[in-house]
Symmetry: C2
Subunit: 611 residues, 2 copies
C-alpha cells in the first residue's frame, strides 16, 4: 500500500455515543439488527442455507440473490460486535456462520440458489449475481475477522475466493460479474490476507468489463470498457460499486488509467447527475442514471443502496487524494440521501428516496429485493470508520460528531481524540486530544464546502488564519494531553438554486449545514403544501425542537400560499401577464429531509417554487 494515500482508521477505534449519531447507531444495534434477522428468517433467507446443507427440507425460497442479504446482515452484526460486545448477538452470528459453513460445497463453492436449484454454476454471470453474492460473503468475512479475530467465516470466504481464482483469470475462464461488488470484496480479502490471487482476480474482473462478456449493456456496466467511460450511466448501484472497486485496485496498483476514469466519472456524477440530497440514479427504469440534469423530484429513484455506494466511492476518493470535495459529497449523502432510507425507529425503509411526494410514497417493513435494509445496517454499524484517517503528517478529521477515537499514529504512538458536539444541529465542535506522550503532528480539520464562516481555537486561542471552505485546515503543533481544539462552523440557513437546465428552475431548496430540509403536511396540516411559495426575500430561522421527530432543529419562515381556485380541474390555462400569482402570507415549518415520512401520511416537497 503506497504511503502517499490516507490510511483508514478502523471503525473499531471509534466509539460513537450521544450526539447526532449515537442514538441512531444504538437503534441500529438494538432494534434494526434483531428486526432484520427476523425478517430474514421469516422470508426463508436463512432457511435457504439450512436447505442447501440438507439440514432442512424444502426448495429454494425467494429471489436468486437473497444470500447477499444474509451476508450483509452478518457484516453489519460483525461491525457492531467489534465496538459493542454483545454475547447474544455473538451467539446468533456464530450459529449463522455454522449454518453457512454447512452449506458450503466441498470445493468451496457457496450459493444456495445454485446449489438448491441445481443450476449450472457460473453460466449466467450477467443476471444471476453469483459473484455479487460471493463478494458480500467476503466483505462479511473480513468484517467478522477484524471484529472478533476469528476465522470461522474468513475460512469459508477464502475457500470460495480460491475457487473463483482457480476458475477465472487470464488464460482461464473469461468473465466478469453482471453486478459489481466482488472487486471491492476481493480487495478487502487481499489487504487482509496479502494473497495476491485476490488482487489479480479483482483487477481481472475490472479489466474484463465492457467486452460484452455479461451482455454488453449499460445495466451491467458492460457496454464500454471502464477506462473508456466518459459518462456515468446504467444501473446506479452497480456503477458506484464498480467505482469503489476500481478505486481500490488503483490504490494498490497505481494504474493511473483507472484514476483518470474515476475522476472523469465523479465529475460527471457530481456536476450533472446528483440530487441535492446526494441521491443518485434518477430513473426507475433500470434503476439507472439519467441524462445530464435529468433529476425529477417526484420520480427520483435515488436508491438508498446507491447513496451507500456513493459514500463508499467518495470515501475511497478522499483517501486517495486528500481532497475535501469528496468529503463534502460523502457527508451530504450521509445526512440526506442515505439517512432518509431508514425510519427513526429503525424498522421501516425506503428503497427510493424521492424529493417530492403526494403522499403515496411510503416506507416499507421489508422488500422482496431487500438489498437496502441490511446495507443501511452495515453502514451505520461501521460509521466510525468514516470519521478519521491518518497520514505521515498526522490525523485527518472527516466527520464531526460526538465520539471517542483511539488512533495509532505510529506503531508506538496512540492518540485519543474526543469530540464533544451536537453537530450538525450546532456548529460548535470541541475536540480534546490525548496523545500518550507529547507528539508533533498535524491535525487536519475538515472545513465543509457549505460553511462560509469558521473559527478555530486551540486551547481557547483563536487561530488567525482564515480557513477555506471545502478544504482541510492543517493545525500543526506539539500536542500534549488535554489539548483542546474548538471549531465553530457557522450554521447558516441557505437557499439553493439548481442548474437552470434542470426542472427545478424557479425553485429553492433549504439547507442548514449539511442538512437539506423539506416541508411536510404533518407540520402544516391545514394547507396543501404543494401550494407553498417562497418570497424572493425568503428568510428562515432555526428552532430547537426537543419533541419533534426525535430531536431536531426545525426551520420556520414566511412563505405564501398560492390560491389555486382558478385551476380547479384544469391542467392547462392560457397565460395572461397579470403579474404576481395570487397568494396569502403564511408561516411554514421545514424539517430535515432525512426525517420525512415518519409521521402521518402526507405530502412532502424539497424544491419549493419562488413566487
Amino acid at each position: 500500500m503506497s504511503t502517499e494515500y490516507l490510511q483508514p482508521v478502523s471503525w473499531k477505534q471509534v466509539q460513537i455515543e450521544g450526539g447526532f449519531w449515537g442514538p441512531r447507531i444504538q437503534t441500529n444495534r438494538e432494534v434494526t439488527l434483531d428486526y432484520q434477522y427476523e425478517q430474514m428468517e421469516r422470508t426463508g433467507r436463512i432457511d435457504n442455507f439450512r436447505r442447501a446443507s440438507g439440514r432442512k427440507k424444502g426448495e429454494y425460497e425467494g429471489a436468486f440473490f437473497n444470500d447477499s442479504d444474509v451476508y450483509k446482515w452478518l457484516e453489519a452484526a460483525s461491525y457492531s460486535l467489534g465496538v459493542y460486545p454483545d454475547k447474544e448477538l455473538e451467539n446468533k452470528v456464530d450459529k449463522l456462520i455454522k449454518e453457512i459453513a454447512s452449506a458450503q460445497q466441498e470445493d468451496g463453492y457457496l450459493n444456495t440458489y445454485f446449489i438448491l436449484k441445481k443450476e449450472k454454476r457460473f453460466t449466467n454471470l450477467k443476471d444471476k449475481h453469483e459473484l455479487y453474492c460471493a463478494g458480500h460473503l467476503f466483505e462479511a468475512a473480513v468484517a467478522h475477522h477484524k471484529a472478533t479475530g476469528e476465522k470461522s467465516l474468513l475460512n469459508i470466504a477464502t475457500r470460495f475466493a480460491d475457487l473463483i481464482y482457480q476458475i477465472f483469470g487470464p488464460g482461464k475462464r473469461e468473465g466478469t460479474s453482471g453486478h459489481p461488488e466482488i472487486e471491492i470484496a476481493l480487495m478487502k480479502l487481499y489487504w487482509l490476507t496479502k494473497n495476491r490471487c485476490y488482487l489479480d482476480t479483482a483487477k481481472f474482473f475490472i479489466d474484463r468489463r465492457g467486452k460484452g462478456l455479461v451482455g454488453g449493456n449499460e445495466l451491467q456496466q458492460d457496454n464500454i470498457p471502464f477506462r473508456k467511460q466518459k459518462e456515468i450511466i446504467g444501473h446506479a448501484v452497480r456503477a458506484v460499486y464498480l467505482m469503489s472497486g476500481a478505486a481500490d485496485v488503483y490504490r494498490q496498483t497505481g494504474d493511473k488509467t483507472l484514476m483518470d476514469a474515476l475522476v472523469r466519472l465523479w465529475e460527471n456524477t457530481v456536476q450533472k447527475k446528483m440530487y441535492v440530497t446526494g441521491g443518485i440514479g434518477s430513473r426507475y427504469k433500470g434503476e439507472a442514471f439519467g441524462e445530464d440534469y435529468e433529476l425529477p423530484n417526484d420520480r427520483a429513484y435515488a436508491e438508498t443502496c446507491a447513496s451507500i455506494g456513493s459514500i463508499f466511492w467518495n470515501y475511497r476518493m478522499l483517501q486517495l487524494t486528500k481532497e475535501a470535495k469528496y468529503t463534502d459529497i460523502m457527508e451530504k449523502t450521509l445526512y440526506n440521501g442515505f439517512l432518509s432510507g431508514v425510519s427513526l425507529n429503525g424498522k421501516r425503509y425506503f428503497y427510493q428516496n424521492p424529493l417530492q411526494s403526494n403522499g403515496t410514497h411510503q416506507r416499507a417493513n421489508w422488500f422482496k429485493t431487500a438489498c437496502c435494509p441490511p446495507n443501511i445496517a452495515r453502514l451505520l454499524a461501521s460509521l466510525g470508520g468514516y470519521f478519521y484517517s491518518i497520514s505521515r503528517e498526522g490525523v485527518w478529521i472527516h466527520l464531526y460528531g460526538e465520539s471517542r477515537a483511539t488512533i495509532s499514529l505510529t506503531r508506538d504512538r496512540k492518540i485519543v481524540l474526543i469530540q464533544k458536539t451536537n453537530y450538525p444541529w450546532d456548529g460548535k465542535i470541541n475536540i480534546k486530544i490525548f496523545p500518550d506522550a507529547q507528539t508533533s503532528f498535524t491535525l487536519f480539520l475538515r472545513i465543509p464546502g457549505w460553511c462560509q464562516n469558521v473559527e478555530i481555537s486551540v486551547n481557547s486561542k483563536l487561530i488567525e488564519e482564515i480557513p477555506i471552505p471545502g478544504s482541510y485546515f492543517p493545525l500543526k503543533r506539539e500536542w500534549i494531553k488535554g489539548d483542546n481544539v474548538q471549531l465553530n462552523l457557522s450554521m447558516s440557513i441557505d437557499f439553493l438554486k439548481m442548474h437552470p437546465y434542470s426542472s427545478n428552475n424557479g425553485r429553492l431548496a433549504i439547507s442548514r449545514g449539511p442538512l437539506i430540509y423539506c416541508i411536510e403536511t404533518a407540520d402544516q396540516p391545514n394547507i396543501d403544501i404543494f401550494n407553498v411559495l417562497l418570497p424572493p426575500d425568503v428568510k428562515f430561522s432555526p428552532h430547537f425542537e426537543h419533541n419533534l421527530l426525535g430531536e431536531i432543529i426545525a426551520l420556520q419562515g414566511n412563505a405564501l400560499l398560492r390560491d389555486n381556485f382558478r385551476w380547479k380541474e384544469k391542467l392547462y390555462r392560457t397565460y395572461q401577464n397579470q403579474g404576481r400569482t395570487k397568494a396569502i402570507p403564511i408561516k411554514i415549518i421545514a424539517v430535515p429531509y432525512f426525517t420525512w415520512a415518519n409521521r402521518k401520511i402526507g405530502k412532502m416537497m424539497v424544491w419549493i417554487p419562488i413566487v
Copy 2:
C-alpha cells in the same frame, strides 16, 4: 345500434387531397406503406407466415407479437385501397392474404409464433399477446372487406373469431387478454357480420378484467375490475385500447356502468395525466401512466401508439355523447402527440415523444417492437373517417381540412361536402354543400375549445349568434346545391401555463390554433436553446415559411438568452435575492412540435421558462 349516438361517416366517403393532410396522407400511401412492407420482409415478419404454412423453412423470427405488425400494415393498406385504388398495392395485399391464409390452422387458429414454436395455445394470455394479435387480424379483415368488398381476409378472421368464441366465454374457459385490443376488433366484426357471438365475447373479455386472470397487475389492466377503476393507471396503450373497446361495448349494450367508468377515467386522464401535446403515459418504466401531474418533459414516454389509442377513445366518446370536449382532445393529439411520431418523409418514427430533448432522442427507421410505425400508417390512411358523423338531425363536422366528402344522410339523400381550407395554418374554412336535392338538416360546426373568436357566414351572410368555444354550433336550414358556409376561426398565438403541481410551473408553452410549438436548435444554431427565457409580456408573430419543414407557419418572437457563466460546472448554487436573471434580448423562432427532429440533431424544448 342505438340512434341516439352519432353515426360514423366512413373513411371511404372522404377524399383528402391538398391542404394540411393531403400531402401527408399521400406520403403515407406512396412512401410509408412500401417502406414498412420492406421492413417487415427484412425482419422476417412476413416470413413467419410462410414458415408457419410450411412454404418456407426456418424458425420463428423476432418478438412473439410480430404478427400484429403485419395485420396493422394490412389494415393500413386496405384503408388506402378503399380511397385510392392501386393495382400494385392490391396485388401485394392479396398475395399477403394468401400467405396468411396458408398459415391458418384447420380449426381456424392463427398465430405464427405459437404455431412455429409449438407452444401450447392460450396458456399465457397474460404475456403472449395471442388475443391481441387476433384482434389486429380482425381489424384488418373488417377494413379489407369494407375497402374491397372481398371476403378473403374476413373469412380467415371469422374462422379464428369463431374458434375463440368456442373456447372462451361464461361456462367455457375463463380469461381475458393481457393486452386489450381484441375487444375493439370483435365489436368491429360484430357490427359488420351481426354475429352476436362476437359481441358476447367482447363483453366477456371486458367483464373478466381485474379478476387476476392475467396476473392481476396494473400493466395488464388487470388489478381492478374495469367498472371499479377510479384512476387511469398502468400501461398506457393497453389502457386506451381497453377504453375504446369498453366504449364500443357500451355503444351496443347501453350498459351505463361502463360509461360511468369511461367518463371518470377520461376526466382523470385529461385533468391530471395528459401532456399539452395530447401525449399520455409519462413513464418509461412499464410504459405507464404516472401519478397525477407526473408529466416530465425530457423523460416523457408519450408513446405514439398511446396517442393513437387516445384518438380512438376520444372519437368513440364523441360519437356517444356529441360533446366537443372529446373532439378537442382528439384534435390536439392528432396534430401534436400523434403526428410527431412520423418524420416528414414518412420513413422515420418516434416511439416516445418527449417535450424536451438534449439532442439524444432521435427518430428510428424501425423498431424491434414495431407497434408504432404501422399504427401511424393505419390512422393516416383512415383519417377521413374522423372528419364527419351524422345523426338524425344532420351532419357533424369534427375536423377541418381540405377534403371532399359524400355523405349519405338518409337512404335516399346524399350530400357532397367540400372543404376548402389551409387549416390549421389558416383559420378560414370554406365549406361548399351539395345535397342531391334541397334538404333540411342541421350542419353542426365544431368550434374548437382554444378558439376565442369565430365568425360564421352562410352564403356570405354573417350569422349573428356568437358560437361558444368547445361546442358544436348548429346551422339549421334548407340546404341547396352550392350553399356556402364560411367559418373564420381566430388563430391567435396563445401561451399556456401548466398546473402549478406539475414541474412546469414558471414555464410557458406556445400554441397557435391546435398546434403546440417548440424551439429547436436548427432555427437558432448559435445559441443554446436551453438558455432561452420568455419575458413576462411575451409576444410572437406568425410567419408563413414555404421552404421550412415542408411548409409551415413558424412563430417569431422576442425572448432573452440567459447568461449561464456563473453556473459552469456547478449543479447547485446558493441563492441570493439579486432580482432578475442576467439575460440579453434575442429573437427566437418556434416551429410546430410535430415537425421536430426532422433536421440536424439538436436540442428541443416545448416548455420555456419565463424570466
